[in-house]
């Protein structure tokens, strides 16, 4: 007879349902991480833009190159979601929308508005 | 293999309200106390008590403990011991206040006092107008009390053995109880807990019946342990059927539903309780209401397609009262019946609920056995709560008195144990042959081979008890019941486990529980067959009248040779005059 002293744990994240409030929160974290990673790029770009005429042009050029466009699109969503989800968290902090029902509804709203606004802005920018 | 051993001043078996209240008293007095519980303490069945705890606080209507005492004696159909009842009713107010100070979140009145509601069998002025004596925390009073008691025990640093199952008591040749053999459910390993005093607080045996309000764990383990240790069980024929269980399923709908203004109707919409109890109506004693419902259904006035239940109406109380006073039972009704209690009537039917009988004790919680003239305590053994029979409930318990019973006698037993410990400073030597016997009981389930399954036989036993030992009883039916239970007892020898593993083997636990249930079933049927009268919850169709001349006495059932014995009811209270038996009408 074998007796396992090391007990297993069930923590398969693919098998655990993540409710919509959890999705909003997790996406908040992911978008925050992406924004953090992009920080040096933004500071560099900002610095370029304020140096002189030529570097200002260079900075603008960076913003419109196809490669950075892709990165910018991801960051655009990140900003939108992070902002909206952040506002939702602040409202929860001041005790607005605490019930499960309204918290679910606001989570949907945040995810949805973030996505829609992202699509609208992306199309407006790209076309 | 050497048996692991631990030593404590006191071993408490069971972590419901009674066990925890006693443990708290002991821990606060710096006794070394171990609480053994087969489930984590807050899972004990006290958690399911709903309506409240009785005390004559007079917060809502005039009240005093004398009236409470009268009601309890009348409710017990004069079988309760009046000294113990006086003790309980006098202590009630202080103990409820004590619970409140310990943190129980009682509901409140506008003036900040504890909220009290009317309950069945309560009266002002010795049988006058309805009283309101039941202190409540919404309809989760048991939950509130159990959690608070557990919390205070955490504070007092009581030693808990969570998920340990007690197998047998250990006693020496002189009959002194020296602790118990227990088993860790998690590891399957036995453990001998040596203790100067042992307190049984294992609760009732509602699992005797198929449809019951009780938890799966309510298998009367302490009752059976006492029987095996040669101690008789008292008044086992008195088993309470709660009038309002969810029809067909058994979940409890608290008497608080009627206390707050709910009422029962039959299929004609008639408030039939007016016929059975013209004064108290729906708030008559539980035995009275249960019998009434049973008769209504029997005589074809039941509701529903099969006419097998009656309706409880609480929809007229309004959402606010329901949410404030009865939130948990409304949840239960929605979950289990998919009925909206704010709109529709609730189908209910009497359900096995409470073991009035139990291990005979005195009002200090000491387990007592008869000797030639009178009785004497078994040294080192105590019992409190539903497993004990003090007897404050007699033939029928009043709603709100069980939570009171556990805190009053839990505390009393704790105090008496403190005194006992002062006089008995040392552990007595353990009787190894008794340990071996208990170990043999433990290893009996290691037997392999083909046989009957535990769950199957448990189901059969429950069905038999329901059919042959229900609300109405006759000689013939009980005789058949006795034979069937004896047959089950025989077949118990053929039960085998297929799973012999050690770690968290719940099948093994259920096998022990089945043994316990069979012993208690036998005690119940045999006691019921012997008592030839109708009193409280024990209704004999063939002896419809109460017979004080022959039967105003407690019954005692011994496991050895299944003998019945009797002892007198203590009619003399401590300080007041006796309430002499009289006709019981509500």
């Amino acid at each position: 007879m074998i007796t396992n002293t090391r007990r297993p744990k069930f923590l398969n994240l693919f098998k655990i349902h993540l409710p919509v409030t959890g999705v909003t929160s997790f996406a908040h974290r992911v978008s925050g991480a992406l924004l953090f990673v992009s920080l040096p790029f933004w500071v560099y770009l900002f610095s370029l833009s304020l140096h002189n005429e030529a570097s200002f042009k260079l900075a603008l050029g960076y913003l419109t190159s196809p490669w950075t466009r892709l990165v910018l699109l991801i960051l655009l969503w990140s900003i939108l979601h992070h902002l909206f989800a952040g506002i939702r968290f602040l409202l929860l902090d001041i005790h607005l929308g605490h019930s499960l029902k309204s918290a679910r509804r606001s989570a949907w709203l945040v995810n949805f508005t973030g996505a829609i606004l992202f699509v609208v802005l992306a199309l407006w920018w790209l076309l | 293999m050497t048996l692991a051993r631990r030593k404590f001043d006191t071993l408490v078996i069971g972590a419901g309200g009674g066990g925890l209240r006693a443990a708290l008293q002991l821990a606060q007095a710096d006794a070394k106390v171990a609480v053994v519980s087969k489930v984590f303490p807050t899972r004990s069945h006290t958690v399911a008590a709903q309506g409240g705890i009785n005390a004559a606080l007079a917060n809502v209507l005039p009240d005093n403990w004398h009236w409470h005492m009268y009601d309890t004696i009348k409710g017990s159909d004069y079988l309760g011991d009046q000294d113990a009842i006086e003790y309980m009713c006098r202590a009630a107010s202080n103990l409820v206040v004590e619970l409140e100070h310990a943190g129980v979140p009682f509901s409140r009145l506008e003036n900040g006092n504890i909220y009290q509601r009317p309950f069945g069998g309560q009266s002002q002025d010795f049988g006058g107008k309805q009283a309101a004596r039941t202190c409540a925390a919404a309809d989760r009073t048991g939950h509130a009390i159990l959690h608070t008691l557990y919390q205070q025990n955490i504070r007092a640093k009581t030693h808990f053995f969570d998920e340990y199952f007690a197998i047998d008591l250990i006693k020496d040749e002189e009959g002194v109880i020296l602790g118990a053999l227990v088993m860790s459910i998690e590891t399957g390993e036995p453990l001998l807990i040596e203790a100067k005093t042992t307190l049984l607080a294992t609760g009732g045996a509602g699992q005797l019946f198929r449809t019951n309000t009780n938890a799966h764990i309510n298998t009367g383990d302490g009752l059976a342990m006492a029987l095996r240790a040669g101690i008789p069980l008292q008044d086992m024929e008195f088993f309470q059927f709660h009038p309002t269980g969810i029809a067909g399923k058994g979940m409890l709908i608290s008497e608080a539903a009627r206390g707050e203004g709910g009422y029962l109707t039959n299929k004609n919409g008639e408030r039939f309780m007016e016929r059975y109890a013209p004064n108290a109506k729906d708030l008559a004693s539980r035995d009275v209401v249960s019998r009434a419902i049973f008769i209504e259904v029997q005589e074809g006035r039941g509701c529903g397609p099969s006419g097998d239940y009656v309706n409880l109406n609480i929809n007229h109380l309004g959402e606010e009262v329901l949410n404030k006073r009865l939130p948990a039972i409304c949840d239960s009704i929605r979950t289990f019946l998919r009925v909206d209690p704010a709109k529709d009537p609730v189908p209910i039917y009497p359900t096995a609920h409470y073991t009035m009988g139990g291990i005979p004790t005195n009002r200090q919680g000491q387990v007592v056995v008869p000797i030639e003239h009178g009785e004497e305590p078994i040294p080192g053994l105590y019992a409190v709560g539903e497993c004990a029979c003090v007897s404050v409930h007699g033939a029928n318990r009043l709603g709100g008195n069980s939570l009171l019973d556990i805190v009053v006698f839990g505390r009393a037993a704790g105090n008496d144990i403190i005194g006992y410990l002062r006089e008995h400073r040392y552990h007595r030597p353990i009787n190894e042959s008794d340990v071996e016997q208990a170990m043999a009981h433990l290893t009996r389930w290691d037997r392999k081979g083909d046989g009957i399954s535990v769950a199957g036989l448990r189901g059969e036993l429950q069905a038999i008890m329901e059919k042959y030992c229900g609300v109405f009883r006759t000689e013939e039916i009980l005789q058949q019941g006795l034979e069937k239970v004896l047959e089950i007892e025989q077949r118990l020898d053929d039960v085998v486990l297929y799973d012999h593993s050690k770690i968290f083997n719940t099948a093994r636990i259920e096998a022990f529980e089945l043994e316990n249930l069979v012993d208690i079933a036998l005690a119940t049927v045999k006691s019921a067959l012997s008592r030839q009268e109708s009193r409280g919850a024990h209704s004999r169709v063939d002896y419809p009248e109460r017979d004080d001349k022959h039967w105003l006495k407690h019954s005692l059932f011994y496991k050895q040779d299944r003998r019945m014995a009797y002892k007198p009811v203590r009619l003399k209270p401590l300080t007041v005059d006796t309430f002499p038996p009289k006709e019981r009408v509500y």
Partner: protein, 231 residues
Amino acid sequence: MRFLIYRYHPEKDQKPYMQAFELDGLDKNKMLRDALLLIKKQDESFTFRHSCGEGVCGSDALNINGTNGLACITPLSSLKEPVEVRPLPGMPVIRDLVVDMAQFYKHYREVKPYLVVTDPEPEVEFKQSPEERSKLDGLYECILCGCCTTACPSFWWNPEKFRGPAALLQAYRFLADSRDQAHDKRLEELDGPYRMFRCHTIMNCVNVCPKGLNPTEAIHNIKRMMMKDVV
């Protein structure tokens, strides 16, 4: 109905696995606990905790189709097939669906879940207005089933340091009690980066609580109390 049940027997298995069971002619009005009991009838070695059967004792908290809940008040009709039943997430599995709750109980004890009164007690009950008492509603009803805490990602990652929603709800239950006199000490003990401030308002706890309680709100209320004390 088809069921997939998490099985692990420490005396036999090296690793947990999922086992399929089929129950015919099941009344869908019954609860999941009833189905599990039928499965136990088929296979005695199948192990899970359960007791009251009506959602007040908190024994049979399980992960049901990915969401924590009590088996005894989860109607079969509400479940998609195959019904996947697993133990509570992130807890050490003792056997099958039985987990070791020691860590959970430890956090509960650590918040000092009892009323602390330092003033002399009155002869009668403490006065508490219905309004003051109503602050305890939604707090005292907790049954310690563990659904919330084991659904909380913050608890998964820091089970030793983060108190978890259930313990924090209890912490607030005493902070909110007008009779309690350990206010400052309780708040002091909850400060720091781990014990409470691991909560990121994910609200999985509120999503799964079988009693409909709201630990997130309780946590926010504690923060509010802390702020009030600072300002």
